[in-house]
């Protein structure tokens, strides 16, 4: 397209326009890029400290699986925090669901449905999810309609499940490693399918990008330089390719990771493209204006807590399958990991701001820190200290970059 006789000033001009548009695009998403950068830095540090083992296929695979439980919780927590609420019960709720599910798997289906592992697994999952959603609706009702602050209600939930977990387990661990059930979190997508899914995702991303450009053109909007769009989409595609290449070298994409990817994708869609998402951000941005615009604040908050409860159920099921047991410590502290993931990812405690992809990267950061420190045999005490320092530094860097935009 560039003729050989194109004059030098023109190429210089288009090059500088490209760089300026690129830097504009970067500045718009500076939050996401900053934490991505933080993630990469953390990976590199551990890579060099462990002589490369940190990023070998098996570890990468485990890393992603480990963050998946927190990931489900964080995916729901974003909208909770966006609307100006908090849910402290998610950790132990997930833990309790994992214990119930383990109990069913170990003691119930054994009697009523012998030799039907798949059916048993399906029933366990369904009951786990239903329980999560039901509890979410109870909390949602008290918070939205009875106007009790979410901090208090969900703290109550946390304490409640602390107790209930102990009651159900009677202090013992309950095995949950039956064949049908354990594939949920311990299974892998066959390598070939892994590639197919990866390629499909990349194709979808590019198709989406072109479609968005077409729409803008239809409305006479100025289009961003195509190279900038290609570059940003290309980077995401590259990341996906690297991930699949890496995990396929071990055993393939882990089931729970795929499940999380789908969940995160759905939540992203809901946040950006549905009225439900739009109303959530409006409520967080200005509750009064949202109300006067006809949004039912109570209805929305109720639904958000039901959703959070449901996702806690998902996390609980995955947890039981991953660990293979329902334990008395199941889920302890997970709510803080979920909240930290959201905030690392750019969700504001003041409400109205926050994204799902950011929260996912946040969850990855936290999991990367944990696995890295474990791999280096750092004592648990020091693990906490280091995680704390890194957490605060990461947010500091983010605030610094935002201020100097």
């Amino acid at each position: 397209m560039n003729s050989a006789t194109e004059s030098a000033p023109e190429t210089a001009q288009s090059k500088s326009r490209f760089t300026s548009e690129l830097s504009q695009a970067l500045r718009r998403n500076v939050q996401t890029y900053t934490i991505l950068l933080a993630l990469v830095v953390i990976w590199l540090i551990f890579f060099f400290s462990t002589n490369g083992t940190y990023l070998d296929p098996q570890n990468v695979s485990n890393l992603f699986r480990q963050m998946s439980v927190t990931g489900f919780l964080a995916a729901g927590m974003v909208l909770v925090i966006v609307t100006g609420n908090i849910d402290l019960s998610v950790g132990k709720l997930a833990g309790f669901v994992s214990v119930i599910v383990a109990y069913l798997q170990a003691n119930v289906w054994y009697h009523y449905l012998p030799n039907q592992p798949i059916l048993a697994a399906i029933l366990s999952v369904t009951i786990g999810l239903l329980f999560g959603a039901s509890f979410g609706s109870i909390q949602g009702y008290i918070i939205a309609y009875l106007r009790v602050p979410s901090f208090i209600v969900t703290l109550g939930g946390l304490w409640l499940f602390n107790g209930l977990v102990l009651l159900v387990t009677e202090g013992k661990t309950i095995p949950a490693n039956q064949p049908g059930f354990s594939t949920i979190a311990q299974g892998y997508i066959p390598v070939a399918w892994g590639w197919i899914i990866g390629i499909a995702a990349i194709v979808f991303l590019f198709w989406n990008m072109f479609r968005a450009r077409q729409n803008k053109r239809k409305h006479g909007f100025e289009l961003q330089n195509i190279y900038v769009d290609l570059l940003t989409t290309g980077m995401i595609a590259l990341i996906i390719l690297i991930y699949i290449f890496s995990v396929n070298k071990y055993r393939g994409i882990q089931n729970p990771v795929l499940l999380l990817a789908i969940t995160a994708g759905i939540m992203m869609y809901v946040s950006n493209n549905t009225r439900f998402g739009r109303y959530s951000y409006a409520i967080g941005g200005n509750r009064d204006a949202a109300r006067l615009s006809g949004i039912s604040i109570r209805g929305m908050i109720f639904k958000i807590f039901v959703l959070m409860g449901f996702l806690s159920g998902v996390a609980g099921v995955v947890l039981a399958s991953y660990v293979g047991y329902g334990t008395i410590a199941a889920g302890t502290g997970y709510e803080l990991d979920a909240i930290a993931s959201c905030i690392l990812g750019g969700t504001s405690t003041l409400g109205g701001v926050g994204t799902i992809p950011g929260a996912m990267i946040g969850a990855l950061i936290i999991a990367s820190l944990s696995t890295g420190l474990q791999m280096m045999n750092v004592a648990p005490a020091w693990q906490y200290v280091l995680k704390a320092i890194v957490l605060v530094l990461a947010v500091l860097a983010d605030v610094y970059f935002k201020k100097n935009r």
């Binding site: 409305h219 493209n273 941005g285 204006a289 615009s293 949004i295 039912s296």
Partner: protein, 509 residues
Amino acid sequence: MENDVILEFKDVTKEFPGVVALKEVSFQIRRGEIHGICGENGAGKSTLMKILSGVYPYGTFQGSVIYNGEELMLAQGAIRKASERGIAIVYQELTLVPTMSVGENVFLGREPVEHGVINWEKLYAETREILARYQLNISPDETVKALGVGRMQMVEIAKALSENATVLILDEPTSALSETEVEKLMDILKTLKSYGITCIYITHKLEELFRITDSVTVMRDGKVITTQPTQAFTLEKLVRFMVGREMKERFPKGNRTPGEVVFEVEDLHAVDPNEARRKVLNGVSFNVRSGEILGIAGLMGSGRTELVTTLFGEYGRIVQGKIRLRNKEIMPRSAREAIDAGLSLVPEDRKGMGLVLIQSILKNISLPNLNQFSSFLRIDADAELKASLQQAKSLAIKAPSLEVQTETLSGGNQQKVVISKWLLSNPQVLIMDDPTRGIDVGAKYEIYKLMNDLAEKGVAIIMISSELEEVLGMSDRVMVMSRGRSAATLPIAEADQERVMALATGLTS
């Protein structure tokens, strides 16, 4: 009045990326005078004041500000330094902490401290003294949240004056005040002048300039057009300087014939939702016809805003009375129900109640209307964009794109966003509470024209306003409220300032 200059701006220039906010602004303010500054939105008045008060510190602009003969060099984060030097500013946007008391707000950041502990007696005693000086009927213990917008502004002024200001800057001070309170403010300013305090009075209300100022500086597009003694101006001249063109009338003539009664309120009584014994509406009756503009006048506290927010289902608990829309009885118990019935409300507080400031123009316009372009699973972003673009165009919203945050818009443009969000919902009755508050002459005119257009299309418009001229200039009929009751509804021909005032103050019935 002494002739020495207390404040001088010399070639002050301030640029932001993409826009020159101030261009070589130069003028002088004499000690002890009341100096008015007027100009359209975007003329640069607020920017100039932000330089004076330290929000934009020394080094972020070119040129110099000379205060008392010395160049004023305020450092970064030195907003308090400016007030310590005697330059105090009362903003249009209230900066009070709503959950704190009047006293706590007046002394916020300067609490009298003894041995490391706040001396509450001294704080409240001094607050009482200041309030008494201005005859403000507010108790220093009252929580600011419970005061109306008008009285909150009085607290702001008290706060500024309690810091012994030698230069007091007032940015649109009367936008939320009733006529009596404006009178009070004028008296206060005259008192301050007698003590030698210099006032800078920024306003869109040009008549006020003639009432109180000694000289006026007119700004347009970041430049000073002229600075002259007030007597040298006439209203037409002022407007011409401000706008740069002739403006024949302030209120455009409408071309409409009202039709049938569309909305009717019959003997409405309502109580405070938090305090069942307090009656906020004590018998309100009126009706509006399609294609008509009904103005609602009344003093602060007469219940106008309470009336419309109750009609919208968002405030009072109705204990008696009927509301009819197109002859069908309705009883909205939430904004949603009111909107579904066909009502729209442009609220008094556009930032606090009308907009989600951190979101874009596009998202704000579409918020109550998402049902129009979405199914359960999907918002049709194209339809949304198209509809919002159309609204933005027909209301001439000035912004680089629909994606900018509404926070960055001028007051006039913000108001246009609020109005367009309601127009998109095709209301049968459009209620507007003080729609042109804090908006410059040019943008006001555009909104008046818009109202006329809407009325011509058959929308019934209810307009509350504290500016009597606005009510008289735009309405077909005027309903006057007093103490929670509708005192009378007058056809425009029978309404004049004295009659309306008399009804509003309850002197006649």
